[in-house]
């Protein structure tokens, strides 16, 4: 960086800091209301609805589009589960980018909720020898198999236990969510997660206005700010409306299955009963609701 540039950016920083201080001290302003907003779980239905309405207005102003932000709760009698067929996955990463788009993940700096590991077939599932940065002309490569990893939606999540401010929790339908307005950004959950499923907004996230997904959930894909943690929510904005997660829909080889674990007729239940499944890092007793299996 050039010297003049850093001086200019310093002046910008100082003015930014001043502006935000003024914004904060100006009582009744939006920023101040944001600052004082309480933990999502302690809010009443009325307060939630008002916050959601304000968010829709704010996003409209910001992106020039109509938005729908939902604060819908879990549907009774649902516990979401996922199954991924390792014998079908070809490592194309279509799921990674479908997820980015659906969930309004930052394009720069890049955030991916799904990471696909490439591992040599003879090694078995061995993280130490896996590679995320594989980049061949064509997938799958001979001698390799692929393990996509995202939030495993543990029944015993470590991440929610360690959070010092209760900004992350497991919903009644089993989805682990984050309140982006309450997270202080200490990243203890990231240290605790054994699957690298949590991602931090190191810088101000950017999503191009023309690509933004306007169907949102408060605990899911609404735009985040810098300094907070985010993660896969099984596409909470879709699955609570009876749709499949984006990664399930996009998968070109049908390796991804999703459904209600409490429904005996669901596809995931069929897989659990008729295939042999495994979970990652079983020895840690996190009890994921994300299963891997070999379909062929």
């Amino acid at each position: 960086m050039k010297k003049g540039n850093s001086r200019r950016s310093f002046i910008k920083n100082v003015s930014l800091a001043t502006v935000s201080t003024i914004a904060l001290s100006g009582c009744g302003s939006k920023a101040f209301e944001d600052f004082l907003q309480q933990n999502f779980r302690t809010l009443t239905k009325k307060e939630k609805d008002e916050i959601v309405k304000n968010l829709e207005l704010k996003y409209k102003e910001q992106y020039g589009k109509e938005f729908h932000v939902s604060d819908e709760g879990a549907i009774d009698g649902t516990l979401f589960g996922y199954a991924l067929d390792l014998s079908r996955c070809v490592g194309c990463r279509k799921c990674v980018y479908a997820c980015v788009k659906e969930n309004n993940q930052s394009r720069d700096p890049q955030i991916h909720w799904i990471e696909v590991l490439q591992i040599e077939k003879e090694k078995g599932i061995d993280f130490a020898d896996s590679n995320v940065q594989y980049n061949p002309e064509k997938v799958p490569e001979k001698g390799y198999f692929y393990v996509p990893v995202q939030c495993q939606q543990c029944r015993h999540p470590q991440c929610t236990t360690v959070c010092p401010v209760k900004a992350t929790w497991q919903e009644p339908d089993g989805i682990v969510v984050v309140d982006y307005n309450w997270c202080i950004g200490c990243r203890y959950c990231m240290a605790a997660c054994p699957y690298g499923a949590r991602h931090f907004n190191w810088g101000e996230p950017t999503v191009p206005a023309e690509e933004i997904n306007t169907e949102m959930h408060y605990l899911g894909n609404r735009p985040r700010k810098k300094g907070v943690v985010e993660k896969c929510t099984f596409c909470i904005q879709r699955v609570r409306k009876g749709k499949y997660p984006a990664c399930v829909e996009i998968c070109p080889v049908g390796a991804r299955k999703f459904g209600n674990l409490l429904d005996p007729e669901s596809e995931v239940r069929y897989i659990l009963e008729n295939k042999r499944v495994l979970v990652l890092k079983q020895e840690l007793n996190t009890q994921p609701k994300f299963y891997y299996f070999f379909g062929i």
Binding site: A191, Y195, G227
Partner: protein, 411 residues
């Protein structure tokens, strides 16, 4: 009213001093501003200005925090031998130990604040107005014990100085229980900090029962190094009296701690290397590097070599009783534990990360500048309060000195 006069009297001391004193203050101020400008960039652009990323999500800041918890804990522990071996100036040792602890805890909180992604939301942790996840989260425990410890030391040290200032006898029935309470609290802050890392099953490098004992041992190696040097300076420049034997005793206690630390570490290394499981990976990264990734190796070996030299210097009575070699040893062990806590404890737990990927972390310039800012603020604070303490305890600065007719301020 009396207390206000004590405070104003104390503040006046801070503004009087020799040329060297003001030169030191100027230096610290320059460092604070230089570091603060670095930190302001982080505030504006986010933690992206650091070299931390999703793979290595905790690093230098949290390492410094851990180190300073050790300093805070060890400073007060000196009260035990002072009491047991009946070193004369026990009150003075308690005061300076506790003032050091206060500054160290404040620096700890500073490092937590700069490490947080949204520092303005810090109030979410406060009881009543926030939602502190107590008792589930170890971070909430740490926050709790650190603040109690800070308060405890602040109250005791202020009370002792206040009494001396007004030439009153201090109430032993008030001070002694608090001092005695601060000793288990010192152990508590360190143990809690170790537990913070310890029980995360996904982080294999930390998931060893020896982590907390090693933590404590390493804190007691390095922590007393500051008082050790401070007491020598005070002895030369003020009326503070401490026998050579007492200083040697501190050094002797440090060498026990070093031996215990060495033993714990060897036990850990033996288990890891002899069993040779996948879990060895992290130690390998720390000591030898993995493949071409050797960036952290110089840090770990520097720490080991400094620690071993210090151990030898402290072990032999001849070098332990020679003040030149003693002080060299104190600086070396301090440096060794600083690197161990700042880098070697944190980084290998994240490299390779939980999915086996290697992201090479070394601190960014912004991180170093921010750390310099916090250390300079801590030093400045310690300079101020120890100057006040020296004036009140050793230079007979008291309530009568405030009398305008007999204006007499110590240099």
């Amino acid at each position: 009213m009396n207390f206000i006069r004590f405070i104003t009297g104390s503040i006046r001391i801070v503004f009087h001093g020799s040329k060297t004193y003001f030169a030191w203050l100027t230096l610290l101020l320059i460092l604070i501003i230089w570091g603060g400008l670095g930190y302001s960039e982080q505030l504006a652009h986010g933690l992206i200005k650091t070299h931390m990323r999703d793979s290595v999500s905790w690093a230098f800041y949290i390492g410094n925090f851990t180190f300073l918890v050790g300093v805070a804990a060890a400073a007060v522990m000196l009260v035990i031998p002072a009491y047991l071996y009946d070193w004369k100036p026990i009150k003075e040792i308690a005061i300076f130990g506790e003032l050091l602890a206060v500054c160290a805890v404040i620096m700890c909180l500073g490092f937590i604040m700069v490490d947080i992604g949204s520092p303005l939301r810090f109030w979410h942790m406060l009881p009543l107005i926030g939602t502190l996840n107590f008792p589930s989260s170890m971070l909430s425990w740490d926050f709790f014990v650190l603040n109690i410890y800070l308060l405890l030391n602040l109250v005791v040290a202020t009370y002792l100085l206040y009494c001396t200032f007004y030439k009153k006898e201090y109430k032993k029935s008030f001070v002694l229980p608090l001092v005695l309470l601060s000793i288990p609290m010192a152990v508590a802050i360190h143990t809690t900090t170790a537990f913070l890392y310890n029980a995360l099953p996904g982080r294999i490098f930390w998931n060893s029962a020896l982590l907390a004992p090693r933590f404590l041992a390493s804190a007691f190696c390095s922590g007393p190094a500051i008082p050790l040097i401070l007491f020598q300076i005070l002895r030369k420049t003020t009326k503070f009296e401490i026998k050579d034997e007492a200083i040697w005793k501190i050094a002797e206690l440090m060498v026990y701690a070093m031996f215990i630390y060495l033993f714990f570490t060897i036990a850990e290394l033996f288990k890891e290397f002899y069993s040779g499981t996948e879990h060895l990976l992290y130690w390998k990264y720390l000591l030898f590097g993995i493949g071409d990734h050797k960036e952290i190796v110089p840090y770990s070996w520097a720490s080991i070599i400094m620690g071993c030299i210090a151990f030898l210097l402290f072990l032999f009575p001849k070098t332990r009783r020679n003040f030149v070699t003693l002080n060299i040893g104190a600086v070396l062990i301090y440096g060794s534990v600083y690197v161990e806590k700042g880098i070697a404890l944190i980084i290998p737990a994240f490299t390779p990360d939980v999915l086996g990927q290697i992201y090479v972390y070394t601190p960014s310039f912004t991180e170093i500048r921010t750390a310099v800012m916090i250390f300079s603020i801590g030093f400045l604070l310690f300079t101020f309060i120890s100057k006040i303490a020296i004036a009140i305890v050793f230079e007979d600065y008291n309530i009568q000195s405030l009398n305008p007719k007999k204006e007499r301020l110590p240099e």
